[in-house]
Every structure is written in C-alpha cells, then in structure tokens.
Symmetry: C2
Subunit: 457 residues, 2 copies
C-alpha cells in the first residue's frame, strides 16, 4: 500500500502550501539536524526523517558503553529540538529508496510498516555511516561496533556481565578470557574505549568484587597501522599510546585481527582468548549511493561537488559521513562531527540562496571547511588534540575537550546532567550507570520470560 | 554440572571461614538489601543473590516509563551499595530452587548457565512479586506490567511510538486507537501511571507534533472496585479521582476488563480500541513457596510467623511481597516498600541475636510494623496520602512525597540527578528521557538488523 504524504492541516500544522518549496532531510545527526535548524522561519516546508526519535551525540557514546552516562544524557528527542520551527515536521521512519525521477523519498514508518512517498524539491541526505567489517560481516555479532544507543547499552551489558561471570567462575582460563577486552581499531573511538574500559576495570569497580581482582583485567588495543590516531599529527599518537600504557592498556601497533570466533580473536600471530571484542576499525557509508543510482566512492560514500550536490542532481545534497567531499586543496574531508555540522549549515544556506534566485542550480560559493581542531580522551583526565595551530596533550587538553563537548551537547538539561556526572566521577571514580539490561541480539534475550516461573527477583 | 561455592581467597575476599555462620539473601530489593546492610561488620559471611545487577527503586519506575527519568537514576549497582562490606559478596544469578534438607540455594549464573549450590545456615528470601493476570497470562505480552527497568523502557517505547505512528497515520479510527491509553488497576501504580501519561500527552509533547493534537489523547483508568486507591482512606481515593479527572483522565470505577486482544480491551460492556494497555491490577509472589515446598497463601505468598520465619524452618526468613505476614492486630501487612525495609532490618537483627545466643530458634520479639504512612502522586504537583495520623492532599502532599522519595533513593548521585530533573520538568514541562529504544519482546526487535542495508541513519 502506498500513500503520498502532504502536510495536513492539523491543530498547529503549517498550512499546506503548494507554492513553498519542500525540503526533505534524511537523517537527523550532526549534519541533518544543523541543516534543519537553519531553515527556521524560512519560506520552505521542511520534513526531517530519521529512523530514531532522537539525535545522538555520538562523540560521548563510549561513555554510555562504559557505564558513565545514561543514554538520555547524550540524546535529544528530534521533535523536541525542532518543536519551535512551525515549518518543520519530524517523521520517525525508515527510508528504503529515493525516486530521483519523481522526486520522492520512499519510507516506511516504524509503527505500521506502510510505505510512504514523501515528495521533495530539495533533498538533503545525511544518513551517516555504520561499521565496516571489511568483508567479515559474520564478525558483527561477536564484535559489535559503537554507533547507536542500543550498541552502547549492549556493549555496557557485555562488559559488566563479563566481570559478574568471572566473579562466580572457577576455571582460571575462563576467568582470564572473561577479563580480557579486545578493542579493534586505533582511531579516536578505539583509543577512547580502551582507556575507558581500563579505567573502569582498574579503578572503577575494583572494590566491588571479592573473588576476582579487576585490576588484572587485560585491555588490548589493536591497530593495523604503525601508530594510534592516524588522523592526528604523529606526536599525539605516540603521546596517546604512552598514556594508554600508563593506564595498563596493551597497545598493539602494526597488528592485524585475522580471525574472530566464539573464543576470541587471532591478533597477528597470537590467539587471544577474550569474551569481549569491540569493533572500532572502520566505517562504511549508508546506502545512499544505491538510492541515487550512482557509483559509490571509497567506503560506499557518495561523491559530491564543491557545493555538496550530486552530479546531475543539483537539488540533492549529501553531507557528513555519507559524502565523499574534498577540501579546497583537494584533500578528502574527514568523517568528523564538525565537518557534518558545517556542511549542514552550508547546504541549508545554499538551498535558501538558490530558492531566492529562483534557480535550483544557481552558482553558490563552494563549501569551505573551517578546521577548528580535534581531540580524543585517554582515560579519566588526559586528552590529546589540536586546537587551531596548537598541539595539546594532558589535563589541559582534557579540560578543553570537556568544555567543547559540554558546549556542543544539545539542551541545557543535558549539559547540566552530564557535567554533574563527570564531576561526580572525577571525584569518586564511581560510575553511575552500571546497569545490566537485556539486549535483543543477545542469546539471553528470552531470559526473563523463560525464568519468570522460577527465579530470584 | 554442579559446583559448590565456598568463598574463595581472592585479593580482597573475606577469608574462608568454617566457623562463621553463612547468611544467604535471595533478592536485593527493599527487603533483601536492607537486611544485607544490617550485617555490616557482623561476624557472618553474607551472600546476596539477585538476577539483576542493580537495586531498583520501584516507586519511581513509573517516571522511567513516562520518559521523565533515566533507568540509572533510580537504580544502584548492588555491588556498589555493598562494596564496603568485606563480609558480603554479591552474586548475579538466577535461583531455581532451595534444598531445605541440605541447606543449599540452587542457582545458575547468567554468564555460563552452570548450576551452583550455595550453602546457607540462615536464609532470607525477599524475591518480591510479579504481575498477576488472574489466569489470563496470554494478556501479558499485550498489557505489560511495571516491575523492572526493561518493563519501564518497553512501556516508554510503546507510549512514545504510539504518538510517532499517529503523526504519520491517515485513518482517523487508527489515530484514535494509537492515542488511547488504558491503565488497568486503580492502586497507586495505576493512579500514578494514568496521571503521568495524561501529563505527558496533554502538556509534555503537545507542541512537538504537527498532524495530531496530543491533548486529544484518551487515558482510561479502569478499576474493578468502587474507588481508587482502595488501600488508602476513602476520602483520598475520591480526591485522587477528581485530580485525575482534572488532568483529563477518564476514570472507570466498578469496571472489569473482560478481554484484551490485539485491537484493544473490553472494558465493562464497552470495547475500547487502544494501542497501549498497561497492567497494574495485581501481583503474585515469586515462586518461593514452591522452592520451600509449602502451601502458598493468597497470591502465592509464603505464610510466616511473627518472627518472619517459615513454620518448621526457623532459619528461613521470608520478607516483603513474597511473605504473607500479619500485623499485631491480625491484619495482613500491605505489599509496600516500607514493610519490606522494616522486615529486612528485623530479619537481620533476629538472625544476629539468635547467632549470639547460639540457638537458631531462640525466642525473639515479634516483628512490629511501624506505619509511617503512604503517598501516591497524581500528575505533576498533586499527591494524596497519609502521614502518621494526618490525611494530606494537593501540593503539600506532593512536597512530602518528593522529599520522602529523594531521601530514600540510594546514593547521593541519584538524589542530585533526580532532583535536578524534577525541577527541570516542573519548570518546563519537558521530559528529558524521551528515548525510543528497542525492546526484545517487541516485534520490531529485529528492525535494525533487517534494515541496516537500506535505511536512514
């Protein structure tokens, strides 16, 4: 069944108007949501489509995975963010295709599974990326990545459950495997995860257990290249490595993960028995290239021109991790939040300018990325990064990191709550969100139902 | 495979001692956890077994279900609570039986499914209760109860998704069903849920939607008896009813839910089409009676004597919702947190006294319940209740309610976070935890996996 959605005249809806250009934004991440906010009060009808109901502040996701923050602390309901924009509606739906001839986005909403066709005059695709297992998709279940709230609570569950099981386990080999954590990939996510797990194990929960010493937990960080943080200047990667080693992380450079199975992973030539393996090694763009019928660039990205539109489709913009865009000097733009944010603002401005000029292909100034810098944390109070021309490391970098992340969090409430929890943790080493909750992909998923008849509360 | 667990000499474990009496506590709710804390520094070896890793502050669970608080805000890791008690170890495991002859608790831990036998000299069973569907267990999936974090996030998901679906839906009948919420049971949980849903719909998210007016959402509260809050004095039930009606809740007294199916519920003689049905109508004790091989009392509870032990088993104490205990005047004790808390303290004191006297059946003073009162909220700033001899209603009762609940929350961190979020909500009407996350029992559970190949971010 198909339905074509046109704005209805609800209590407070924008009056349906055939004359106002329709902008459809797919994906409410950093790129899409910042584009949407730019259309506030503009003479357009905006539809934002996302398959989650919340914007997710992905740079702090590793803190949910390591039991430091709650999911809601780093999320904001998309509807809430856009509630004041009367020309904008939000749609929780799953996009399956784009009909570039009829200029329609094809989506099914999550409630009834019906197919909806959403017509657009201008389309912004900002659907991000997911993990890439480089052809080993069978590793996905065993070595989850860290892209969504559900990924994070699932990893949190796995880490906490490993300690719980080790506490009641008798075999020393099995205990060692339960207390071994392999993080694959030495980029910012991998570095931050490895540091946070080491902090949690070696400090956070140490006094909670009786039979095991969690300080003996082994955290491996495996990176194929010759240094950590390859996107950062060389010296910072070495500094991050030393900081991780001080936290007790076993950093393996130039090491490839050749196999992952139920028992563990083959790291270089060493087989490491490990219960928990976390994948932070690579990403692959969402299937936007297929929707548009264009040849994908590296990692499945969609190649865009200097105005972020797709060749032959001057009304289709692709942003962030979905796009393969180049800086003025020809170098590829990195897959970081600040690129997506700036591209979101740019796309909205370009569309509004072209609408004013009455020509969807009117010339606009090319996108220019203003690189403010980058930062990655290593454990509790250490970070490395580059702010403008300055290379920073240590506590100073961490303070900048904390300030930047608090400032970019959406919503006063989240800022206050996250700050309060950080202060609490840095004073006490305690983490507040040490909840083991069920995960649907887990084999224990039916645990509760199967045991309601015979179990402890 | 069976293993018998005896305390091991870990890094920081209590030295294994054959001479110290072993106390095993099943269930770390209000009763079990308060008993455990009483054993601090006492000459006993304590094992606390729970199938969750966290203590849950159940009285605030309805606020998680209605997107106001995060799960971690009302939970505390059991290990964290007991970390300072060197004589106490915590075990995440699922109890399947008690061998009263050999004095062993039989449990399997969640990690490997192996069976463990945990020997005890004294046993405290405080495993709580779960929903009772009065013979209609097939309603469980359609009309979930509110007992665990997973229940609460599942109900939160269902409520929020109902509005999301209604927003993109075209058929007026279907929209009406999506925006109808039936709460079954007029006790405190039902009253609090109905008030909170009405608040959320009519105020909290109203400005977020364009096609629907969430103020038109219908909230039904169905109670078989002739008044709400039957445990409270008559006048308070009538006050709660009027307060709910002011919030727009349709209160149906003397109405029975005769059938629940995919489309809705038969309420008295009216068939109500509703997407969301929440069960708060009754509870049933955990299967402790079966473990002990005793005839269960009403609602599956275990009958205990004035010292809270089971007839014929002077070393087995049963507390809280699992027990059928009587007050001095012969009236049955209600299933509320304060009874469980006081019983937990009592059981630990009785055990320690009997250990000192060297006789597990030495006479002790009978348990006496000190009834401080009870309170239930109705919406944002209204509550009804009884404090000592005083009947309270309105804002004053709400202030007392808030103070009592903040005071009883475990942990300074949770107190501050919950208070901050309440203040935020009462100032802005906004709820911070409006997250739709996946639920394993839901048919959409495999949504992500099925759609990773073709979907919006």
């Amino acid at each position: 069944m198909e339905t074509t959605i046109t704005p209805r005249d609800g209590r407070s809806g924008t009056p349906a108007s055939a004359t106002r250009p329709r902008v459809v934004i797919i994906g409410a991440g950093f790129g899409g949501l910042n584009a949407a906010r730019r259309f506030r009060n503009a003479p357009v009808d905006v539809t934002v489509i996302d398959r989650s109901n919340h914007f997710l502040f992905q740079p702090l996701l590793y803190q949910v995975a390591t039991a430091e923050l709650s999911p809601a602390d780093i999320s904001a309901p998309i509807r809430g963010v856009l509630r004041g924009q009367r020309n904008t509606r939000t749609m929780l739906a799953n996009v399956s295709d784009v009909d570039v001839e009829r200029r329609e986005v094809i989506a099914s909403d999550l409630g009834d599974g019906l197919e909806h066709h959403i017509p657009y005059d201008y389309l912004i695709i900002a659907t991000g990326a997911r993990e890439s297992y480089f052809g080993h998709n069978d590793w996905m279940k065993r070595a989850p990545g860290l892209k969504s709230i559900n990924d994070a609570t699932s990893i949190r569950r796995q880490i906490l459950l490993a300690f719980e099981t080790a506490e009641v386990e008798d075999g020393p080999e099995r205990i060692a495997a339960l207390m071994t954590f392999v993080v694959v990939g030495g980029g910012p996510t991998g570095v931050e995860m490895a540091g946070a797990i080491a902090d949690l194990a070696h400090k956070g929960v140490r006094r909670d257990f009786r039979a095991i010493d969690t300080a003996k937990a082994r955290v491996l960080l495996v990176e194929m290249g010759q240094r950590l943080l390859p996107q950062f200047p060389q010296g910072l990667g070495a500094k991050a490595r030393r900081a991780l080693e001080r936290l007790g992380v076993d950093v393996r450079l130039g090491a490839e993960v050749k196999q992952i199975d139920e028992e563990g992973a083959l790291v270089g030539d060493e087989y490491v028995r490990a219960q928990t393996i976390i994948w932070a090694a690579g990403v692959q763009a969402s299937p936007a290239a297929r929707w548009l019928g264009v040849e994908p660039a590296k990692a499945g990205r969609v190649t865009v021109g200097p105005d972020l539109t797709v060749a032959g489709h001057p009304n289709i913009y692709v942003l962030g991790d979905t796009a393969s865009a180049r800086d003025r000097d020809g170098s590829p733009l990195p897959g970081v939040a600040s690129v997506a944010i700036q591209q979101g603002h740019y796309a909205a401005k370009a569309i509004l300018q072209r609408i004013r000029q009455g020509d969807p292909a009117a010339p606009v100034a090319p996108f220019r990325y203003f690189d403010r810098g980058y930062l990655a944390t290593v454990g509790r109070t250490y970070a490395v990064g580059k702010i403008g021309p300055l290379l920073l490391s240590g506590l100073a970098a961490w303070v900048v990191w904390a300030g930047v992340h608090i400032a970019y969090l959406i919503g006063f409430r989240n800022r206050v709550l996250v700050m309060a929890q950080w202060i609490w943790k840095y004073l006490t080493y305690q983490r507040g969100a040490r909840l083991i909750t069920r995960d649907p992909r887990d084999t224990h998923a039916d645990f509760r139902r199967a045991t309601t008849a015979s179990s402890a509360r």
